[in-house]
Amino acid sequence: MKRQIPLIIVLTLGIFFFIQFFVPSQISTNIYQTTLQWTLVISAFAIVLAIGSLVNHHMLKIKRRKPHWWNSIVTLVALVVMALLGIFGRVKGLEPLGELYRKLFHYVQSPMDQAMFAILAFYMASAAYRAFRARSQEAALLLISGFIVMLGVIPFGSMIWSKIPDIAEWIMMVPNMAAKRGILFGVGLGMTATSLKIILGIERSWLGGGGK
């Protein structure tokens, strides 16, 4: 029963919403609206689960004095402080808390996140220098197209030759797009097949237990 009830729910709702998509009546739209509200409520539980799991993980780390356990204290304090400021900062009369929340976000969290991401540029430059070698014909082709696209997006490209941006755009719009379209087509077919398998109960791994 524990496995059959979810399978019946998925089969019934899967078929129902497949049909609902093509029925533009008021009743059908109302049912659809109510279900969307339900889905929102259910997805809110995911946040509770995520916070619970995060707190649990870091509490254990602190308790067992695992390496760098003090970082877990920072994480938990940041979680509590930002959550409280975010919640109470929007209450009328407590606006200064909201202002503090905004300042912490804009002047602490945001620069830290951006700095972390900016470091990537250096690693990418170093990796491009090391990896972009014309070791084979395919690698040479990749190198040349990479060059043209890079030159196409910067002002120097059109300074060297006015046609470089056009060639770069052609590379993006024709060979790049052909490959992307192929991938998307495969992904689309895969998604349809997986959805059908889930609705029909052939694919059961989402129930847990590896699909047995």
Partner: protein, 283 residues
């Protein structure tokens, strides 16, 4: 000489880092200006926004990104907002990414102040709405149910600008600014199902993924990376909607020089690689 050139194939990564730092900092410090080619995808968004009727259907901007990619996407948001406010086009802002909540609020209120625009009348900001695809779907049927309160907890019905907005039919364009696949979801769940026009502002890394949708017309246009923002800034300055280029145009010089450096390093690396190979073959 050959041995010297061979060394270029094995440059220490700290040298690469230092050169890149210089290539980024020098153009920024000396405000080196550059004029660039405007992409067709950028121009189509600009043209579309330029034809939205003032005080008519609003433009919806979804700030679907985190601070990590804000350097690339903030300038786009500011440029599009300036274009809208200068023309009297109303704006509805929201975020489907948790951290986009405060980013959107910061940008929209700052740009609105520049043009003396009022919250609730000229623009509305709804902040973060959890549920992503559910919100996209729900707005197709009932925007009020999807966005019951704005960022400042004002009920939907108390926002004069929102009185005539019921679903996507009342929205001129949805612009999703994102560092991930949010625009893809907007295309599927809002564009295809409810026929609302979608445009994307993406990081340079993500932009190539959207070319198939540009060709099919599922995306009105796309702003790709810092260049997209800089191009839009250039277009609004040329049209007289704003008085000067902003940060993206300045940053484009840094990007141009750093790209040039990477191209040079790759060429040198290949020269070094082939010379080392020849030397080894001779041995």
């Amino acid at each position: 000489m050959l041995k010297f050139l061979a060394k270029f194939g094995k440059l220490d990564r700290r040298i690469v880092f230092a050169l890149l730092l210089a290539a980024i900092l020098i153009p920024l410090l000396f405000s080196v200006k550059s004029h660039f080619y405007v992409d067709a995808a950028t121009r189509s968004i600009y043209d579309y926004v330029d034809h939205i009727e003032p005080n008519g259907r609003p433009l919806m901007i979804s700030f679907d990104y985190d601070p990590q990619v804000a350097a690339e996407l903030d300038p786009m948001a500011r440029a599009v907002l300036r274009h809208c406010f200068a023309r009297g086009v109303k704006v509805v802002g929201l975020s489907l990414a948790p951290q986009g909540d405060a980013i959107g609020e910061g940008i929209i209120t700052k740009v609105a102040k520049e043009y003396g625009k009022k919250n609730g009348i000229d623009y509305c900001y709804f902040g973060y709405r959890p549920g992503m695809t559910i919100i996209m779907l729900q707005m197709g049927v009932n925007v009020k149910k999807a966005l019951p309160l704005d960022y400042y907890q004002t009920p939907y019905d108390s926002l004069p600008m929102m009185h005539n907005i019921h679903n996507y039919d009342d929205i001129a364009l949805v612009l999703s600014l994102a560092g991930s696949t949010y625009p893809y979801s907007w295309i599927i769940f809002a564009g295809t199902k409810f026929k609302v026009k979608i445009a994307a502002g993406q990081t340079a890394v993500m932009a190539p993924d959207n070319y198939p949708f540009l060709q099919t017309g599922q995306l009105v246009g796309q702003l790709g990376g810092m260049k997209g923002g800089a191009e839009y800034e250039q277009l609004i300055v040329e049209a007289g909607y704003y008085h000067k280029s902003d940060i993206a145009s300045k940053a484009m010089s840094a990007i141009a020089y750093s790209h040039l450096l990477i191209i040079l390093l790759i060429i040198l690396g290949n020269i070094g690689y082939f010379i080392s190979k020849k030397i080894e073959q001779k041995k």
